[in-house]
């Protein structure tokens, strides 16, 4: 009688098909790929993966990406925490306008900012550093983190703050010792979304780097255009980019959905 499982199953199948295509291709040799379609790899090979793990231009791409993503997540969440507290607890001059202004930055198309960002970060001599990309991604990640954290904080009754102040806690001591542990789940969700958007963004990351901080995504696009059609290698590199995301999802799976559910617009 209950046929509800059919739709999610079909949906997940649809999601997995392109990933399956990518994975099988990563285990094929270039000759086999260009030779025609096959559902399973005929000559199973790990050469594509071996190349990525031994060639520094490839594996450095992953390291670079992870470095700026982590820096960005740390900056975004740590400056967003006090700001979200202010928005959720106090009324102050221009608070609503400020909140909306923050959100408008989430709406700015990165393509609009690519060239000015290049000039700005060249001018302050941060071009081609991990820090440049991490700072640039703050443009859309800080508003998002403030938005999510504000939602979580509004769910905590104000009596908690008042009791702590009566007990003689100073603001910062209360904030660090009591408040932050209370909203740990919210911080996890905010960090997840910052990680996600910084990890998947390419346009700004590519514009702001050339050699030393080149992200994996840029290495891939440049390989695709220069060395002809090494599809197997490209597929292997692509498959590897899925792993960090999958690990992060696994850890926050119970909180992902809540992140936006509690946030308010």
């Amino acid at each position: 009688m209950n046929k509800k499982w059919i739709l999610p199953t079909l949906y997940i199948l649809f999601l997995m098909l392109p990933i399956y295509g990518l994975l099988t291709m990563s285990f094929k040799t270039t000759n086999e790929i260009l030779g025609g379609f096959s559902f399973f790899p005929q000559q199973f090979t790990l050469a594509n993966y071996a190349k990525i793990f031994t060639d520094p231009t490839w594996y450095n791409g992953y390291i670079n990406s992870l470095i700026y993503v982590v820096i960005n997540t740390v900056i975004s969440v740590s400056v967003a925490l006090p700001a979200a507290y202010a928005f959720s607890r106090y009324r102050f001059l221009g608070d609503k306008h400020l909140f909306f202004w923050l959100l408008t930055n989430r709406m700015a198309p990165p393509a609009v900012f690519a060239l000015p960002f290049f000039q700005l970060y060249s001018a302050i001599e941060l071009f081609d550093t991990h820090f440049a990309v991490a700072l640039a991604h703050c443009l859309f990640n800080i508003p998002l983190a403030v938005w999510i954290l504000e939602g979580f904080m509004s769910g905590i009754p104000k009596e908690l703050d008042e009791t702590a102040y009566l007990d003689g806690y100073s603001f910062w001591r209360f904030f660090l010792r009591i408040f932050i542990p209370t909203i740990a789940a919210g911080i996890g969700v905010a960090a997840f979304f910052c990680f996600m958007y910084s990890w998947v963004e390419l346009l700004l990351a590519k514009t702001l780097t050339s050699v030393d901080a080149k992200p994996i995504a840029a290495t891939m696009t440049r390989t695709a255009s220069t060395s002809g059609y090494e599809l197997g290698l490209l597929a292997a590199a692509g498959s590897l980019t899925i792993i960090p995301g999958a690990i992060v999802i696994y850890f926050v799976r119970n909180y992902i959905a809540k992140g936006f559910a509690l946030g308010r617009v």
């Binding site: 098909l17 295509g21 001059l93 900012f113 443009l139 959905a257």
Partner: protein, 287 residues
């Protein structure tokens, strides 16, 4: 929540303000600067006034990409929203399958955008890709690098693949917040499935759904990397959306003036639509 007035709260907001303003104001002012001037290189600029704005607003090329962008955004919203709601409604609420569903569904959201493009490019290649090969062997004439319709369909399906999960996750979160008692009451009253959806589930999902639609609108309106990697804007100009067109003008032809003017118009269009949506939503919430 009752809030107390406290102007010192500005100090808590200051770091955010500084960082975002640094990233937003300076580049925005650069764009405004370019949009009003003409340059022949060497940092020599001439005042041009609103010439570029007039030129962009009159250009057929801009109209065409704006139309394509609007069509694309409405198409993906029309598919993703109902599909997302339907999947969220039929997902299990308890048991071991919940985690499996959530993890697998969230996977596309965390794949770098150029990898999504490359993955679909590989998937859809007519002779060696899984999708392209299957469609062709079933007798469809499919080649997304040459046929505009195929290219469009592939781009839309790719976006559905990529982002429907976001709507599913948000709606699912909304649905999980409905207490069991509501459903029991509905059963006692003999409510039909449609009535349960219309009067219990939909109202509970309304808030997360508006957030989902807003996010999907913003992101799809700014879409660049995925279609750029998948089709490169082609065949011809058929999948050249606003961002792709903008980057072509700014970095390809280095026409800074028109590109800057177009950027500002583009940004204003996004802001205007979001503002209308935001105000409508706030009014709804106040009622």
């Amino acid at each position: 929540m009752r809030k107390s007035t406290n102007q010192k709260a500005w100090w808590l907001v200051a770091p955010v303000l500084l960082l975002v303003a640094f990233n937003a104001f300076i580049p925005l002012m650069t764009v405004v600067n370019y949009s009003l001037q003409e340059t022949f290189g060497n940092n020599v600029f001439f005042w041009e006034g609103v010439t570029w704005f007039e030129q962009v607003l009159r250009s057929e090329r801009f109209h065409a990409s704006l139309m394509r962008q609007l069509l694309f955004t409405s198409m993906i919203l029309a598919i993703e929203v109902p599909l997302g709601i339907a999947v969220a409604l039929s997902m299990p609420r308890k048991g071991p399958w919940v985690s499996v569903c959530l993890v697998l569904m969230a996977l596309p959201l965390l794949i770098p955008w150029n990898v999504v493009g490359a993955m679909w490019n590989i998937f859809a290649l007519p002779d060696i890709g899984l999708l392209g090969y299957s469609l062709n062997s079933m007798g469809f004439d499919y080649n997304f690098t040459q046929q505009p319709v195929s290219a469009w369909m592939t781009t839309v399906v790719m976006d559905v693949w990529h982002w429907t999960s976001l709507i599913v996750l948000l709606c699912y979160a909304g649905l999980c917040s409905i207490p069991d008692a509501y459903y029991q009451a509905a059963r006692i009253d003999g409510a039909s499935g449609w009535a349960v959806f219309r009067y219990i589930q939909l109202p509970k999902m309304k808030r997360v759904l508006t957030i989902a639609i807003l996010l999907r609108f913003m992101d799809s309106f700014m879409i660049y990397t995925e279609p750029f990697v998948l089709t490169g804007g082609g065949p011809g100009n058929t999948t050249t959306f606003l961002s792709i067109d903008l980057v072509k003008i700014a970095l390809g032809q280095f026409d800074l003036g028109p590109a800057a003017a177009m950027s500002l118009i583009y940004f204003l269009v996004v802001l205007l639509i979001c503002w209308v949506f935001y105000t409508l939503m706030m009014r709804n919430e106040a009622q």
